[in-house]
Amino acid sequence: MTVKSMILMSVATVAMAASAPALAQTEIQWWHALTGANNDVVVKLAEDFNASQKDYKIVPAYKGSYPDTLNAGIAAFRANAAPHILQVFEVGTGTMMSAKGAVKPVFELMKEAGEAFDPKSYLPAITGYYSTAKGDMLSMPFNSSSMVMWYNKDAFKKAGLNPDAPPKTWPEVFEAGKKLKAAGFDKCGFTNAWATWANIEQFGAWHNIPIATKANGLDGFDTVLNFNSPLFLKHWTNLVELQKDKTYDYSGRTNTGEGRFTSGECPIMLTSSAFFGNVRANAKFDWANAPMPYYPEAAGAPQNSIIGGASLWVMGGKSAAEYKGVAKFFTFLSDVDRQVKLHTESGYLPITKAAYEKVKASGFYKDKPYLETPLLELNNKEPTENSRGLRFGSLVQIRDIWSEELEAALNGQKTPKAALDAAVERGNQMLRQFERTASR
């Protein structure tokens, strides 16, 4: 953060603190990381809630990117000026829940505020990520997405592939990649954004194999990574082999390579379902999406996918009146019609079962099947220990380590086996260090 923005922020904080007592309403600060059309969604939700009653006032504030917002929340907490609601991306979940006293679990909040709250009415694949092993919901799901395979139908036609029957398994994807390459897509047959999300996190869940012990960390911080197992090794070895002639071409750690799909360079790309808006706006070809591919030999595959996106965390140390307002707002958010509207207009996943059923019944997905793909993946099967989600402290750093090792394999510095082992070993070191700070 620059000095200037720090000064501006502290000035703003002081100004807000000074103006608060003058208002009769209880103000609820909501810090978030959404820009553009998504920012409008946040503002609209706050306005609608404020108009619906007069005891509480939600005040949304944009705090920068996901990591920036998390850092702003942490810094504010350390300065005793935390907001009531903080939007945190899924990667920060471990960090949030490890800090006892810093956050107020949602299930506790709803109970204490006396709000009607049934955790079973939410989509389990979404809430599973934000709940303890016992099923206690810790944060409120807000904008969720999952990983799907986007593909270029025009390119499929050109390569003699059936555009209405996208590849289902990884071997089929490799085959398609080779054909596409031969048909002129010689820089990239297929690719993925979010390298570790695709090739470690989603891969484990989709094949029902563990990334780590203790239900991938959901059951405790003494979790140990163990994804250097045969199927992961097979997948990484395949990618490394295919990278050599660019049938597979690596597109970076985050989503900065997504433009390779919309520009037509890469005809197959695994990335977030939230890529939808971008594809709709920029792709000048016929496109569709499909579930992520799987290895047919894996027992029970495909299992179910896990989510990305962010959830709303309630910060600790606030008054009962303020919590009451937050709880009312969460009830407001979970309303069926509101969720239906959010989902169909913004492309976010609906968070409750009722909202999903209602959209399904309305026939909405017949015209827009691509908006249902991530939901079909998430609900494909009842989540297991390996597919409920994952929760690791320092996951931001651990993901960097994983990417480093994947890159070392892809550029030939290490064998896939050595890279995978190193990814596990170095990740475990970070987990052990995190465990010491989190366990008390």
């Binding site: 810093a102 820089k187 750690r253 750093q397 260090q433 700070t437 008390r440």
Partner: protein, 293 residues
């Protein structure tokens, strides 16, 4: 008139010094001491649990091969950036110092990049050299050059060096130009009359007279590559591929800000602080002797 003005008592001098002292203590000594203190702690992001661990953060760092590699990366990165940005800036300054038509326009154009923030500079270079988006990268691939900074460490390093150099040339250029213009014309003219050729004039007269400027810029540039370049690296490569462009300052930034590992990050900044103090001491002790003001 009194030759030496002096104050009786301590109040007035302290009062006069106070603003400077307060700022130094508040914005340098206090944060620096916080970093030293933090580097001995193991703490979660929210600061709810803290453990004093002595030198464990340092031990962890030096057993991390990634950290040792960052030293090597920093050595490569900083030497290339310093040599290139000083060398090119000097070349441009000498060119712009000549009596040519439109010199003002050249000067202005050369100074422009300094107004660009490091992160923006990084994005600009990324746009030119990204293997998919970049115009220049496409040109390279049409020429049959396999350019892929996403996976090739040398390509990535070259890219961050170019971006960091480009960003710093303007600043160096400005000082070199000012330095050149402050050299009395009569000295050069005398040399011309004596029959000295341009090359000889430059090395025996101009360059020695520029030595204070060069020395100042060397110090500034080292501080720049050590402390100011993380924005460029973050936007261009994010330290990748496989940590091959991860420099010391970038690691401080990514571990501390991205990873919320405050102890490890603080330990790294303390090491960095010690290194820079060391280098500055060496510079002023040994290199400065060769500088004639």
């Amino acid at each position: 008139m009194q030759k030496n003005a002096y104050f009786t008592g301590l109040t007035v001098p302290l009062l006069l010094l106070a603003p400077q002292l307060v700022i130094t203590v508040l914005f340098f000594y206090w944060p620096a001491s916080q970093a030293v203190w933090q580097s001995f702690l193991l703490q979660d992001a929210f600061g709810t649990s803290t453990e004093f661990v002595w030198f464990e953060n340092y031990q962890l760092l030096f057993s991390d091969p990634g950290y040792l590699k960052a030293f090597w990366n920093t050595a490569i990165f900083s030497s290339f950036v310093c040599v290139l940005s000083l060398g090119l800036a000097l070349l441009f300054a000498v060119m712009a110092d000549r009596q040519i038509r439109g010199a003002e326009i050249y000067k202005t154009l050369l100074i422009w990049p300094y107004a660009v923030a490091p992160a923006v500079a990084g994005v600009l270079w990324l746009f030119m050299f990204d293997p998919s988006l970049g115009m220049l990268a496409r040109g390279l691939s049409n020429l049959g050059i396999a350019w892929n900074p996403r996976l090739n460490g040398n390509d990535a390093m070259l890219l961050v060096i170019l971006a960091a150099t480009w960003k710093q040339i303007s600043y160096n250029f400005l000082f070199f130009l000012a330095g050149l213009q402050s050299i009395p014309k009569s000295v050069i003219e005398a040399a011309v009359i004596d029959g000295a050729r341009p090359w000889r004039r430059f090395w025996t007269i101009v360059f020695p007279l520029l030595s204070p400027t060069t020395f100042f810029l060397l110090v500034v540039n080292i501080v720049y590559v050590f402390f100011d370049t993380f924005g460029i690296i973050d936007t261009v490569t994010g330290g990748g591929p496989s940590g091959q462009t991860e420099t010391l300052v970038y690691k401080v930034y990514s571990d501390g800000k991205g990873g919320s590992n405050l102890g490890g990050s603080a330990a790294q900044s303390v090491i960095l602080l010690i290194m820079v103090i060391g280098m500055t001491a060496v510079q002023f002790r040994f290199i400065e002797r060769k500088v004639s003001y």
